[in-house]
């Protein structure tokens, strides 16, 4: 088997939002890595720190409140957190680009969609291509995402939601980035369009060999598209592994189990879905020890005192004391 090259590695990343009233611990020492041509899914409920992680990779945290307290974001071996603003600008869009959640607001209503795709190309036009070449590339991109190139002189409001998301994808792909971050790319779209957009992204990934981080709370999306999965809870990655590990593996974090229980299953007849009891802890005031402790059905005293045990098997990692016992038993 061919040795896979690591594209992105996040080490001990810790991000807080500092306001006058409180310190919000949005991301707490997370680790994950992504190889070239791989897709990782970041899954978790609202407020788990998924988007914060994505914004940190691009250094787009809100300036006044967002602070990176520690850790490294290694992109092709270089720490993005050490880069200057100007260097970072060259990375954004050209090497790493992001697709935002809501295509309705992600496009500038006062510019034609063609101009918006062209803009990214112009900014990163280091090869000094002529205007005609760039325009040809715009046409190419429109064809790539399945929109007739003649429509590039139209404005965003003349497109449907799904088409807008395609345009957003075209902008993100304009400079053929190595890493594409998709922040809930399908949440704002209806189900049929979701499938189209996912299919498009999957095809593009195969064609262009782009790595992707897909942020979602939809496990169905993850199952369809991802090679690796990281389940986030309260700013921590509680379980990570290959898609195989997560969907077919035996061992799971209680939170992952809870997530799966909350998905309707067509094969089994069940009256009600079983949601996870309780609410996500306030990230400004996180519980000690295991963050999931207060909601966990397997909660023991030890869980409330120190950070939980990390279970490891190949690429599969679970942060839970449940597996500590088993390890001790053996």
């Amino acid at each position: 088997m061919e040795e896979k090259k690591t594209l992105l590695e996040i080490k001990d990343l810790e991000v807080i939002y500092q306001t006058d009233e409180a310190t919000v611990h949005a991301v707490n020492r997370i680790n994950f890595s992504l190889n070239e041509k791989e897709t990782i899914g970041l899954v978790g409920e609202t407020g788990a720190g998924k988007t914060t992680t994505a914004l940190t990779v691009l250094r787009l945290l809100p300036e006044r409140t967002g602070r990176i307290k520690g850790g490294q974001v290694l992109f092709r071996g270089e720490n993005l957190l050490d880069k200057s603003v100007a260097e970072m600008r060259r990375v954004r869009g050209a090497e790493i680009s992001i697709i935002f959640q809501d295509p309705m607001t992600a496009l500038n209503p006062a510019l034609t969609v063609g101009d918006q795709v062209l803009e990214s190309l112009e900014i990163h036009n280091t090869a000094g291509k002529s205007r005609q070449e760039l325009n040809a590339r715009v046409d190419e991109l429109f064809n790539l995402v399945g929109i007739p190139a003649e429509r590039k002189t139209e404005y965003p409001h003349q497109f449907s939601g799904g088409m807008k998301q395609r345009i957003v994808i075209a902008i993100a792909l304009a400079c053929a980035p190595q890493l594409l971050i998709a922040d809930e790319p399908t949440t704002a779209l209806d189900v049929t369009i979701q499938a189209q957009v996912l299919k498009l992204m999957e095809n593009l990934k195969e064609e262009l060999g782009t790595s992707m981080i897909i942020i979602t709370h939809d496990l169905g999306v993850v199952a369809e598209t991802c090679d690796k999965v990281a389940i986030m809870y309260a700013g921590e990655i509680v379980e990570t592994g290959t898609a195989e590990d997560i969907f077919n593996g035996k061992e799971h974090h209680p939170y992952t189990v809870g997530l799966f229980n909350a998905i309707p299953n067509l094969d089994e007849k069940e009256e009600r879905l079983r949601p996870i009891d309780g609410l996500m802890p306030d990230p400004a005031n996180l519980p000690k020890g295991c963050k999931f402790g207060p909601r966990c059905p397997h909660f023991t005293e030890a869980c409330g005192i120190e950070m939980p045990y990390i279970y490891k098997e190949k690429e599969h990692r679970i942060m839970c004391n449940l597996f500590k016992k088993e390890a001790a038993d053996e």
Binding site: L58, L60, R64, M88, R89, R90, V91, R92, G93, A94, S97, I98, F100, D102, T105, A106, L107, N108, P109, A110, L111, T112, E119, S120, I123, H124, Q132, N135, A136, D139, T153, Y155, H157, Q158, V168, I171, A174
Partner: protein, 297 residues
């Protein structure tokens, strides 16, 4: 073959570019009032440019003692003033000064105020606070007083009046733009532009301003009329355009004394200012609607 294709494509894109302007024109045309405003404005502009062809400048400044205070007639269309100068000639030649001050101060003021406001609203923080406090302190002084003080300090000339009016109007434009920019900077497409590596100044020019420009278009078209009148105020106290050079506002002020007996003396300069302001308002309204991609139909 491929070259042919490229040429065809290039031609197509040229056609498209043209059609966008045509599209704006098509929508502008629909608004009958705006078209009326535009025609009116072009007439005023034409008169201003062709002033010397229509009537000699000498006529506007020559005092004919025997023809003082005559009402409108065939020889003096708008009548004559208290020095026996032909009012029609004075209005035609006064247009140049009035429009220069009116448009000049608004255009320069909007440009400076707009850019400053956009940068303040976009950057926020310390820069914003410092600039806004400076502008606040300028706003404390009544704008007419400030303009007078500036002219008094720099000396009387048309250019100094223009500059004084510009300086006293900048804070207002700056505030208007800043507030609409604040609304725009929170939008996702600004963040999206960031994520593409777009430099800040380009974000301001391409993404922020086009979306924040609406209120300022209306405001500035209306401001032209009031700028002409403010310039008249400065002329009135003897610090603006020096007589006998004609200027609409100054004419109004000169006519003030004779208003009850010879109302046409205020009527014609007043109408000239009024029609100019009206044409600008109508045109500005129509232009804003025609340029707004969201109202396309």
């Amino acid at each position: 073959m491929s070259k042919d294709k490229e040429i065809v494509k290039a031609e197509q894109s040229k056609v498209k570019k043209k059609s966008r302007a045509q599209e704006t024109w098509r929508r502008f045309k629909k608004n009958k009032l705006a078209v009326f405003g535009m025609i009116l404005f072009f007439i005023i502009l034409l008169v201003t440019i062709l002033a010397d062809v229509i009537v000699s400048y000498d006529v506007s400044v020559t005092q004919v003692a025997s023809e003082r205070l005559q009402g409108p007639s065939a020889s003096h269309w708008f009548g004559t003033d208290n020095y026996g100068r032909d009012l029609f000639a004075r209005i035609v030649h006064g247009a140049r000064n009035s429009l220069l001050v009116g448009f000049g101060s608004v255009i320069i003021g909007v440009t400076i105020g707009g850019l400053l406001g956009a940068v303040c609203g976009y950057l926020g923080g310390r820069f914003d606070a410092i600039v806004m406090r400076i502008l606040d302190s300028i706003m404390c002084i009544p704008s007419a007083m400030l303009a007078l003080a500036i002219v008094a300090a720099l000396g009387t000339s048309l250019w100094n009046v223009l500059m004084a009016m510009t300086i006293s109007s900048v804070p207002r434009y700056c505030r208007i733009i800043r507030s609409s920019v604040l609304g725009v900077t929170g939008q996702t497409y600004i963040e999206a532009a960031h994520s593409c590596g777009t430099p800040d100044f380009q974000i301001i020019l391409k993404h922020v301003l086009p979306n924040a420009i609406g209120p300022i278009i209306v405001e500035s078209t209306m401001a032209v009329g009031s700028a002409i009148i403010s310039a008249a105020g400065i002329s009135f106290v003897g610090m603006g355009i020096q007589p006998p050079a004609p200027e609409w506002g100054a004419m109004l002020n000169e006519a003030k004394t004779y208003m009850t007996m010879y109302p046409y003396m205020v009527l014609f300069p007043g109408l000239a200012i009024g029609f100019t302001a009206l044409s600008m308002n109508l045109m500005g309204d129509g232009l804003r609607d025609a340029l707004d991609p969201k109202l396309k139909n």
